[in-house]
């Protein structure tokens, strides 16, 4: 049997062409403490240097045998460039991801720095992506938050949620602004040669929004984004998604990714076998809490439920148990030799 490179394996799977075995990859962060320790730097130092970002991603893939590398790891790069700053927690113990320290008071106050796309850490992320693309060893994933989730980083989420009912026009104008930003960044990353682009509309699950509101507030903007982007392009949503899988499927993505709350068996029935489905194990529970001996059943469960590639439901928590990650990778390689609903095998 022919053996593919990690890059080929991911590229072919996302084109729904036959692969040798299921790739081990994700559209969310996959950095591990084992890689950070190898570099001998604190976690807080990773985010501000292109070299550190690229190295930590590559080392994580080297150590565990992932097929892809993903940067950045935090959700503040764009809000920071827009002018909202960034808390890095340089002195905090352990792993703490950067956050946005302040938000605009309301949608009227939103005043985006005109040169935002080249400000703050935007060039750092782009340089890291360039390094990883030119290295060529792994498939390179780019990601951008969806407009609603990005919006929640720069104004209070409750203003958006209540505004849908009280100030629908203002909220729509704000969402248009965020949508343009998302398209701009995603296109820049695609122009750098990333192998796939994930739009993470993380905070829009039905834990927060009704399906009706999702159709009104989320879907039109995601449709705009996916219409502008090249393939392969993936839509990921965390939390409750069972009630909106049909709406997600109308957004124009090539693949849909879900977290562990999704009933994949039902989703596959609703969506059919012509769509790539990715998911959906609980990354913290599976890789940090469970015993390694429990991991294969979880991974096999995802495959048996009908995913085309096993993805963690979110970023993996960097402080993984190495034996659990090895069990994840090993199980995907073995159980992933069989064809999946949307992708055959060579």
């Amino acid at each position: 049997m022919a053996t593919m490179t990690p890059k080929e394996r991911v590229q072919k799977l996302l084109r729904r062409e036959p692969v040798d075995t299921m790739p081990v990859f994700s559209g969310m962060g996959m950095v591990t403490v084992q890689a950070i320790e190898k570099m001998g730097i604190p976690f807080a130092s990773v985010h501000g240097s292109a070299e550190n970002l690229a190295k930590s991603a590559s080392y994580s893939a080297d150590i565990f045998g992932f097929d892809s590398v993903i940067v950045p790891y935090d959700m503040c790069t764009i809000p920071e460039a827009m002018g909202r700053g960034c808390s890095t927690y340089a002195d905090a113990e352990g792993i703490l991801y950067p956050t946005v320290p302040t938000k605009w008071e309301n949608v009227d106050a939103v005043d985006i720095n005109p040169d935002w796309a080249t400000k703050a850490r935007m060039p750092v992320v782009e340089d890291a992506l360039k390094m990883l693309v030119s290295e060529g060893k792994y498939a390179v994933g780019g990601w951008v938050l969806g407009p609603f989730t990005l919006g929640g980083q720069v104004i209070e989420l409750d203003l958006l949620l209540k505004g849908i009912k009280k100030e629908a026009d203002k909220v729509a104008a704000f969402m248009e602004k965020m949508t343009k930003v998302v398209i701009n960044v995603a296109k820049r990353y695609q122009d750098l040669g990333v192998d796939y682009m994930t739009i993470r509309e993380m905070g829009s699950g039905t834990d927060l929004l009704s399906p009706r509101m999702w159709k009104q507030l989320i879907q039109p903007y995601l449709q705009q984004i996916f219409a502008e982007l090249k393939s392969p392009k993936i839509l990921h949503i965390c939390g409750g998604t069972d009630l909106i899988v049909g709406l997600m499927n109308e957004c124009g993505a090539d693949a849909l990714s879900f977290d562990q709350k999704n009933n994949l068996v039902e989703t596959r029935k609703k969506i059919g076998n012509d769509m790539l489905l990715l998911g959906n194990f609980d990354p913290y529970g599976t890789l940090c809490q469970k015993e390694a001996s429990e991991v294969p059943a979880i991974i096999e469960g995802c495959i048996n439920d009908g995913v085309d590639a096993v993805w963690p439901g979110c970023d993996i928590w960097p402080d993984v148990k190495p034996e659990n990650v090895k069990a994840w990778v090993r199980t995907v390689r073995e159980a992933g030799k069989k064809p999946t609903p949307a992708v055959g095998r060579i």
């Binding site: 808390s87 927690y89 905090a92 352990g94 792993i95 703490l96 991801y97 956050t99 946005v100 320290p101 929640g152 989420l157 409750d158 949620l161 209540k162 849908i164 009912k165 009280k166 039905t206 834990d207 927060l208 929004l209 009704s210 509101m213 965390c238 939390g239 009630l243 990354p283 913290y284 529970g285 809490q289 979110c314 970023d315 928590w317 402080d319």
Partner: protein
């Protein structure tokens, strides 16, 4: 003294105002309640909180989602701001506890935290709200400073949840009797147990369900005179 019929009408309008998120209606009937001599605690628990219980049912039936709940909470607070200063301290109304609440360092999401805070406000607790992105040691310091019985911690992301474990250890080491509540999307029963917490709610919606259940229990306690 207000008649039973008028009392029922005022309470109904307070409850409906919360359910329909009509802040002006809630303000109007809160003021009327006070003008006409209705007990403030009665108006809060059997008007505002009763409305919030209906909101909880609507959430359970997936008729309401978080945006509606937030607007109902705004309406509830509109009434609470008017009624709370008139609570009679010596009537045994409400709980007399204190709670320290906040989202842990690294987390700037606070919708769930604010909904739980609402429950404590309605229940008559003194709430020490530390806000969000709170340094871990601050929770322990504030608990000691205020001698609060409850500390409620929220984290919306797995990436910040781990901080909760440290806070719990810090607080329990100094005062093992403090009840610790955890909230947030990544928090499961297993995580709460593992971290040594006393209770948990896994999402903003779940938080409000828990909050509403607790309000319901408070109302029942009051009704039975317990």
């Amino acid at each position: 003294m207000v008649s039973e019929e008028r009392r029922a009408e005022i309470l109904k309008n307070l409850s409906e105002g919360v359910v329909e998120y009509q802040e002006d209606q809630v303000k109007e009937y809160s003021n009327l309640a006070l003008e006409e001599g209705l007990d403030a605690y009665d108006a809060i628990m059997n008007g505002l909180a009763a409305g919030m219980e209906i909101v909880g049912d609507l959430y359970d039936r997936q008729e309401y989602f978080v945006p509606e709940i937030l607007m109902c909470a705004d309406a509830l607070y509109a009434g609470l701001d008017i009624l709370k200063p008139h609570l009679k301290i010596d009537t045994g109304s409400g709980m007399k506890g204190q709670v320290v609440i906040g989202t842990v360092q690294g987390d700037v999401h606070d919708i769930g935290k604010n909904l739980i805070k609402m429950m404590f406000d309605v229940g008559g607790f003194t709430v020490h709200d530390l806000g969000r992105d709170v340094p871990l040691e601050k929770f322990a310091e504030e608990q000691l400073r205020t001698d609060s019985e409850i500390v409620a911690l929220s984290a919306m992301m797995t990436t910040t949840m781990m901080g909760m474990k440290k806070v719990i250890a810090m607080i329990k080491e100094k005062n093992p009797d403090v009840a610790i509540m955890l909230g947030g999307a990544p928090v499961t029963k297993d995580v709460a147990n593992l971290f040594g917490a006393d209770g948990y709610a896994e999402s903003a919606g779940n938080a409000v369900q828990e909050a509403i259940k607790m309000i319901g229990q408070l109302r029942k306690l009051k009704e039975t005179g317990a």
